[in-house]
């Protein structure tokens, strides 16, 4: 039990970062298709099972893994060329280590932190390793010995360095408000209420959250700030000379960086793993009531899903009957989940702490995937900024705004605490 609970956050980190990448690729394609009014990849199947198109991402992954490892002959610095993608990947992965997935679990007076790395460094850790990610890009572009690659690397690194300043300053005002750098304490601060709203960072610090979200887009080199890989100007930017799994590592690193900044935005600005207004002890005390709510929700959503699938999943495939299998699986899983939940809801078993932990995982996951949706939505809606516009936005608009925000925040915090 002890080992399981210590390993759990590490396994979750792998799940949220590495294992979500195929899902993210699938989401990217299907949402792009939705926005452009087409269907997206949905034909790839294993004996008739398509999983809504996820099989396509798995096929793509297989392609990247089994592709020939090719080393261009003009590359002199082989070591740097080969080490660059793994640097990008490692630093993206390490940023994930401090995200809390649930509140600290206390069983038999022993507490288990639900962060992969039980440290209070929080935000600073994220900034440190997000900054190290630049080296993967700089080195990759430089070692590729190619004009397009080096232009892309210079663009990307100048952008990341510039936006890091605004990101750090917008975080300073957040730190002043919450009075802590530990992400776990930030989340528990956000369970309070602020007038009628939950005291989420988004409502307390609207300016800082907008600045942070914009800079997070720029830090991860995602559209509209992806001039570093602007295919109409500089081919593919810093990974022009990379192929097979070396390109795959850059590709995965970009998605992991996106997932990590999404997770940080959820934790700092959207209340993290907590439901609005409710803190952990309230959840534990009213767990039976919440279980009944979840049971009702599960019944309604699975019925709606089944109806939707019957109408829309009509593409004729050879092999097994997909709709029938999914219907059986959904009904079976829902009944099983309801049986388990009602066992606890009726008070036969007592596992409130673990139950609340699972609920918090679920809340965190839903918020995180909402953020992923926003990232993808923005990418397929906004056109790419020209490169000088990107720099101007960072240095001339976001930087002064975040400085002004620190000033205002400091005045308000000192004013509110005056006399205490």
């Amino acid at each position: 039990m002890n080992t399981v609970l210590i390993l759990l956050p590490l396994v979750l980190t792998l799940l949220y970062s590495l294992a979500t990448v195929p899902v993210l690729v699938w989401m990217e394609r299907r949402i792009a298709a939705l926005i452009q009014d087409r269907l997206g990849p949905n034909r790839c199947h294993i004996n008739g099972i398509r999983l809504g198109g996820i099989i396509q991402s798995i096929a793509d992954m297989m392609k990247l893994v089994f592709k020939e490892e090719f080393l261009p002959s003009h590359i002199k610095n082989r070591f740097y060329y080969l080490v660059a993608p793994s640097l990008a990947f490692m630093s993206a992965f390490l940023t994930f280590m401090v995200i809390p997935y649930a509140d600290t679990l206390t069983i038999n007076e022993q507490s288990y932190s639900m962060q992969a790395l039980p440290t209070d460094l929080g935000v600073l850790w994220f900034l440190a390793f997000a900054g190290l990610g630049v080296y993967g890009i700089i080195l990759g572009g430089w070692a590729s010995h190619n004009k397009y690659a080096i232009l892309g690397a210079i663009r990307a690194s100048a952008q990341v360095i510039g936006y890091e300043v605004a990101m750090g300053l917008s975080l300073v005002s957040i730190l002043i408000t919450y009075g802590t750098i530990s992400l776990n304490e930030m989340v528990s601060y956000q369970t309070q209420s602020f007038f009628i709203f939950p005291a989420w960072g988004l409502f307390i610090q609207p300016l800082a959250s907008i600045i942070f979200i914009v800079t997070a887009f720029a830090e991860t080199n995602r559209a509209p700030f992806d001039a570093a890989e602007g295919e109409s100007e500089i081919v593919a930017g810093y990974h022009t000379e990379y192929g097979a799994m070396k390109f795959g590592l850059y590709f995965v690193a970009e998605y992991i960086a996106m997932a990590a900044s999404g997770a940080l935005i959820v934790t700092i600005f959207l209340g993290g793993y907590q439901l609005p207004y409710l803190n952990t002890s309230e959840l534990i005390n009213n767990f039976e009531l919440i279980l009944w709510g979840i049971i009702a929700f599960a019944i309604v959503t699975s019925l709606l899903f089944l109806r939707w699938m019957k109408q829309h999943n009509i593409f004729a495939m050879s092999g097994l009957d997909e709709t029938k299998i999914y219907t059986t699986v959904v009904i079976g899983f829902t009944i099983f989940a309801i049986l388990v939940m009602s066992y606890y809801a009726l008070g036969f078993g007592d596992a409130n702490e673990v139950g609340v932990m699972l609920l918090q995982f679920a809340v965190f996951t839903i918020k995180l995937f909402f953020l992923h949706f926003v990232f993808i939505w923005v990418r397929w809606t906004l056109p790419r900024f020209r490169y000088d516009q990107t720099q101007k936005l960072g240095w001339n608009i976001l930087l002064p705004l975040s400085l002004a925000n620190i000033f205002i925040t400091a005045i308000v915090v000192v004013g509110v605490n005056y006399g205490n």
Binding site: Y80, D120, L124, L127, A128, Y135, I138, I154, S157
Partner: protein, 166 residues
């Protein structure tokens, strides 16, 4: 025991990478091994529970300053024929290290003889951001402000110099 072996590993990485940094021919090799040195020094800080120093070392040195240096090296586009001919470099390094050796021996001896906090009990709070902040703004407020004025002067100087050229 465990932390001892980690310490020796990190110390070895630090020393080797700093030697590579001094003796490398190309500037990019020097810069990259300097990054390795800085990160392993940060890890040494983490080993003695100075978590704030650890993270600040990575953010400022390894993350910000070194990436600017690398950026400049990339911009300059140094070719192999532009680099100076350093035929006697290794002899120079050997000679200077022989001259410096007695001084460093004295320094090591001094450290071993003094009893600077080698066996002192430290509190749980030591090295955390709160502890560092309180010490900095309580005991060392004057030096801290002087250093920030120095930084401000450098900042203004950089702005003025870049305006002049434009």
């Amino acid at each position: 025991m465990q932390s001892d072996s980690i310490f020796f590993l990190l110390a070895l990485i630090t020393i080797v990478s700093s030697i590579v940094m001094i003796s490398a021919h190309r500037p990019i090799d020097s810069a990259l091994s300097f990054i390795v040195t800085l990160v392993s020094i940060a890890a040494l800080f983490a080993l003695v529970n100075a978590t704030f120093l650890f993270v600040v070392q990575i953010i400022i040195y390894a993350g910000a300053i070194l990436s600017l240096i690398l950026f400049i090296i990339m911009f300059l586009n140094i070719k192999d024929e532009n680099l100076p001919d350093e035929r006697y470099k290794n002899y120079w390094l050997l000679g200077t290290s022989l001259i410096v050796a007695p001084f460093s021996f004295i320094l090591i001896d001094l450290i071993l003889r003094s009893n600077i906090a080698l066996k002192a009990q430290i509190s749980e709070e030591f090295g955390t951001i709160k502890d560092v902040g309180l010490t900095l703004f309580d005991k060392w407020i004057l030096p801290f402000e002087l250093v920030s004025i120095l930084l401000l002067v450098a900042l203004i100087g950089a702005v003025i110099l870049s305006k002049k050229e434009a």
